[in-house]
């Protein structure tokens, strides 16, 4: 019983530290494309945290919204912006991204 408590306490502290490191990593990534990838990884870390803290339903929403949908929306937006820029610099090839 005591050893189980110790294990779950260690797990909680470890996951909180990982989330802190992950969040700092996202903030320190300045390039938007790389930031989408670190954000997705950070979403997975948050999912683990919610799971460890016994909120499986929040973890389920987080894994989809945080790790897939928001990074994907960022990626799609970046792709759209770059295509627009490519068109400005090279108007003869409008469809190339």
């Amino acid at each position: 019983m005591t050893s189980n408590d110790a294990i779950s306490a260690t797990l909680r502290i470890a996951v909180l530290l990982l989330v802190a490191v992950g969040a700092t990593g996202v903030v320190c990534t300045r390039e938007p494309l790389s930031q989408a990838v670190t954000l997705s990884f950070y979403g997975l870390l948050l999912t683990t945290m919610f799971f460890v803290f016994q909120a499986p339903d929040v973890a389920l929403s987080q894994i989809v919204v945080g790790a897939v949908v928001s990074p994907l929306m960022i990626l799609l937006t970046l792709s759209r912006i770059r295509r627009g820029k490519a068109r400005e610099t090279n108007p003869s090839q409008p469809e190339r991204s």
Binding site: D57, L60, L72, M73, S79, E95
Partner: protein, 258 residues
């Protein structure tokens, strides 16, 4: 403001935040030591008077269903805003033609066999898992929102495995739009049925059944299912609007040259 002053100002702010945060955290009850009466009451009420073993779902879809209704409409309205902002400047005549246009509009590399196999393998699993999460919200963790977002990843997997044309085939935009709107309305409809039965709005009016069975807990499961359809539809509409924006062929009159 010089960078130096700005930094000093930041240090003051950060010190204040850390102090107040530490003060607040130290005043929290120890981990797992819950003190308030509401949680105990609701844990009892969910099982005893609603026959639902997942207390979170009982709170979301019954005891505080009106809050969930508000949240659902926040999602509904934001997705509507996205659709409005990203609406096409040139209205396509035919959906299939538009899809073909879009597919040729970008030189997309065909996905590798590894990606295709992984995505196709995940499609079935995701559909099953999403449906399970939506329909078992009253018994186990999950419910309409969680199941809905899981189901919304299915068209995305299909897009990754194939192309946007197949995405439009399995999730026709008109069907998804209509489904989303009808499901959002059905939430209010379920609330109004209770009113028609001379009960307060969103009262659980269906038979409660046996605790622990899938048909238990009355309207909780019904509301969970309509929420699942609404949330899944909303996310599909959101993603396909963003995809269309990325892949959309530039209309003739907007091109640099003829």
């Amino acid at each position: 403001m010089s960078p130096r002053t700005r930094r000093i100002l930041f240090y003051f702010g950060a010190a204040g935040l850390v102090t107040i945060l530490a003060w607040g955290v130290l005043g929290l009850p120890a981990y797992g030591q819950y003190q308030g009466p509401y949680g105990d009451l609701v844990s009892y009420a969910a099982v005893q008077s609603r026959h639902a073993t997942d207390v979170v779902s009982a709170v979301n879809f019954d005891i505080r269903a009106i809050d969930t209704l508000g949240e659902e409409f926040i999602l509904f309205t934001s997705v509507m805003g996205v659709v409005l902002l990203l609406r096409k400047r040139v209205e396509p005549k035919d959906v299939d033609e538009a899809a073909a246009d879009v597919a040729t509009g970008r030189e997309k590399e065909p996905p590798s066999n590894a990606v295709r196999l992984l995505c196709l393998g995940l499609v079935g699993v995701s559909v099953l898992f999403g449906l399970y999460i939506v329909t078992h919200g009253q018994l186990t963790p999950g419910g309409g929102f969680q199941g809905g977002v899981v189901l919304a990843t299915v068209p995305l997997l299909v897009y990754l495995a194939a192309d946007v044309r197949v995405l439009h085939q399995i999730a026709p935009r008109k069907l998804v739009d209509a489904g989303e709107a009808l499901a959002a309305g059905a939430f209010i409809g379920l609330g109004l049925v209770a009113v028609a039965l001379q009960e307060p709005f969103l009262t659980n009016f269906l038979p409660l059944g046996t605790t622990g069975r899938i048909d238990s807990s009355g309207t909780i499961m019904a509301i969970s299912i309509v929420t699942g359809i609404e949330v899944g539809g909303a996310f599909v509409v959101l993603l396909s609007s963003f995809l269309a924006e990325t892949l959309e062929r530039i209309p003739e009159e907007h091109r640099g040259e003829p």
